[in-house]
Point group: C3
Chain length 349, copies 3
């Protein structure tokens, strides 16, 4: 009955020299030191590798009880002299390797819980796990190896691919399409109606929302995030795109492959986001825009115009980041400008 993605520490301890080898790093100090895990500097114990990848955490070195360290060439100089260490160009990648070793993903037992309600025509692949009280409406299909958490509700004709993990309380509306290797976190909602009305005799008459929400392979969707179905046509989240918690993706939005949307982001209707786009937390974009491939939208920005491919924008309304920085600097000198004008007035009058 365990969660779709339960992780329990299960990997064997590793000698520090073995760690250096696994992550392609350089060992200094006692290579035989046995390491049981990796931890932040201020939480690591003597059997753990303390992790230093950002300069602002150097302050936690003092007092750290870590038995060894994992860091980058730029920060190695801050480590205690002589402390056992592994130094590697990409310490985040190294941590990923270590965590995958120490916390292997143990697949839950394949089984359909007896309380799950399966509608007419539901088809399940091999090795599927369905949690307690999940409801799969008629004609839902679930691919092999997929794990559906407790209380999930998959609307009629929803199609889910292989090896997906749906955490508890996920809801899909009818006709949703989810690819393979997709992770959906608790409370997320896929395929809800878009916000579309037309004025008829002074009332807001609902525009039927008859398109689909289409989630491609290798997408991850955060907790309590909402992705509306298309009104006409589809809402699409492209392959390998990752979406954080509490994000709103409106109807007919199309997001390309390999993009990142951080928490509390809102993308209004019909806006198209390219491949490899990064959108920082709490940023948003109005409707009917184009945000080009490789563009970056910084934290908290409000995008009101198209963003060309590769451009970084910031601010509200957003503009090119460099221009925004210049404007902020000018605003910071407004004091002095006012003083200069006052002085000129004295001289001239």
């Amino acid at each position: 009955m365990s969660d779709p993605q339960s992780r329990t520490r299960a990997g064997e301890p590793l000698a520090l020299s073995r760690i250096a080898h696994m992550v392609g790093g350089t060992l200094s100090g006692d290579g035989d030191l046995l390491v049981e895990g990796v931890a932040p500097l201020d939480e690591a114990g003597s059997q753990q590798v303390g992790f230093l990848a950002l300069k602002r955490y150097v302050r936690f070195l003092d007092g750290s009880r870590a038995g060894a360290f994992l860091s980058s060439p730029e920060l190695e100089g801050f480590l205690p002299a002589g402390a056992p260490r592994v130094v590697v160009a990409d310490p985040y990648g190294a941590v990923r390797t270590l965590l995958t070793h120490f916390f292997p993903d143990i697949p839950a037992e394949a089984a359909v819980h007896p309380t799950a309600v399966l509608g007419h025509g539901v088809r399940l692949g091999a090795g599927v796990r369905i949690g307690p009280y999940a409801v799969l409406e008629e004609a839902v299909t679930v691919g092999s190896g997929t794990r559906i958490g407790a209380h999930a509700v998959l609307g009629a004709r929803t199609s889910v691919g292989e090896r997906c993990a749906f955490h508890p309380h996920v809801v899909t509306y009818p006709d949703s399409v989810v690819g393979s290797d997709v992770t959906v976190h608790a409370g997320a909602c896929i395929g809800s109606d878009g916000f579309g009305y037309t004025a008829v005799a002074g009332r807001h008459e609902k525009m039927p929302q008859v398109g689909r929400a289409v989630i491609e392979d290798e997408v991850e969707i955060g907790a309590n995030t909402t992705i509306d179905r298309g009104s006409l046509g589809d809402t699409v989240v492209g392959r390998g795109t990752k979406i954080d918690n509490l994000v709103q993706v409106a109807h007919n939005v199309r997001i390309g492959a390999g993009s990142l949307l951080a928490a509390l982001v809102g993308i209004a209707g019909s806006t198209r986001i390219g491949n490899g786009v990064w959108i920082g937390g709490r940023a948003s974009a109005i409707n009917h825009l184009e945000i080009g491939d490789g563009a970056q939208v910084t934290f908290g920005s409000t995008v009101m115009r198209d963003v060309p491919p590769g451009e970084t924008v910031s601010g509200s309304p957003s503009r090119p980041h460099r221009e925004q920085m210049r404007r902020q600097a000018q605003l910071g000198r407004l004091d002095k400008l006012i003083e200069r004008v006052r002085k000129l007035e004295t001289l001239v009058s």
Copy 2:
């Protein structure tokens, strides 16, 4: 067991001349062309009407495989010469008419799922549908024709009117009041406690939240939206008001009739919003404000002061839109102003 609002394509194909008649538009070209649906320009096939209502989508005409087009007099000139078309003043309204034909709302079969838990004193009207695992606590009443989705939890003494659609996973807290013809999307929460504390000996002591959440007729509430109960007195969402996904309506907020709140909007405690107000996505308002009838708050704005009836405000902090535009223009010329002051200094010194 289908979803409260399942829509499946079920309407018969229509001749293009019949479509022109239904939407009150002007036909050009082959009126006998049989049409099976309406779609965006870049998705429409030869049996579908491609939809063009915004100039920025003219670029999708090139390459469109639509068999016919639906557009406005302003944009008709962009359509391929000679292509069959219907031209109408309000193309969105026309699409609404067509979608309602092609995707009729097929009511789910009335039934109380055997797994639903009904508390003491629950009363259900005629033709009510209750989905799997729904929980109706004691003394809940549900009006005739209302459909309650799977896993909904209606708190004690909640009253729901007639012909409502509650999607899966909706929660109401005790004593909530919901009118008739109300749609509530998945994961929305009605009547949660407001955020109220008083400082007692350095601790935040909770202010009991004993008012109600009152949702009037014909309201629609988006997925994962939260509407707090009143602290003292009620939180009210007025008749025909539509609220999008992930919106926060705090305790004792009162929203009038026919207003629109787009996604990620936050309205702080006790603020009063009039009738016919439009609040754009991700906008917000602090507490204890008045936003007058017919006011508009643009996307992303932060309202810190009362807004008079009929006024459009924008920005953070928001101000009248015209003033905000002027200020943005001035800021855009700050470069030049600094240059002019520099020149003056040269001349004067």
Copy 3:
């Protein structure tokens, strides 16, 4: 089967003189008047005390049908001459006292609903209440007096303390730790995966999220709020901190004791928030920041830099509030500055 925190009016009517005594206030007028409750000025009836604590609600006195009034020394002068009243320095505290009397918290009957699914090794304290369809995965522990609402899903090895109230549809991920006297509202998610990826060969490879979410005693968490587990190490919400609806607390955030986070706030990864910090609605902070003890972040602000203890910041990007106010004033006079420069140019040329 009632809700974890059902409140029904149950307290006896009180004489106005008794109310004055209970709240430590000064009585004027008929002390024998029997009062059945407290209400906003425009909703109070003749058996209720109308509540006036803010000057902007003085306008509702005219037409109020309240039988008596509760107000502060500063506002007493606005009350109708001769109307029965209680005047007290802290009227909000007084309302809290009255509401606690009139709406006592009636604990739900202790019971484990027969539909609850309890995994292997689940341990429940005395007097625990588990609602319908709740799922407690293996090795979950729940302290005495705690009430778990319908449809809650507690992930494997989650530990919950005593006297907590979990409203319906709460989800905890495996290994979450919740203290005592904690309230969690409907749809909130504790312990979801943080948003962490590393680039490997052009793809976003997920960083395993193996830390915990730790919620200390006396915390309150709002509806549909999400609190991620730590990536390495823990995400911590400190004792007595209160969090509103639709808030995002990212991985490895640490929040001290007695802080307040209003609705739609977003705190990005690894940011540390001190004790007694106030963060207004829809405000946010980027990752890896320090916000010191007693700091205040005003409504809608975007924090991009560390905030020293005790400082109030506002705006986007946020800066010290006083500085922000000065800048806003300068911007408001930009019109005039441009005019002054124009005049100078006329004089000098």
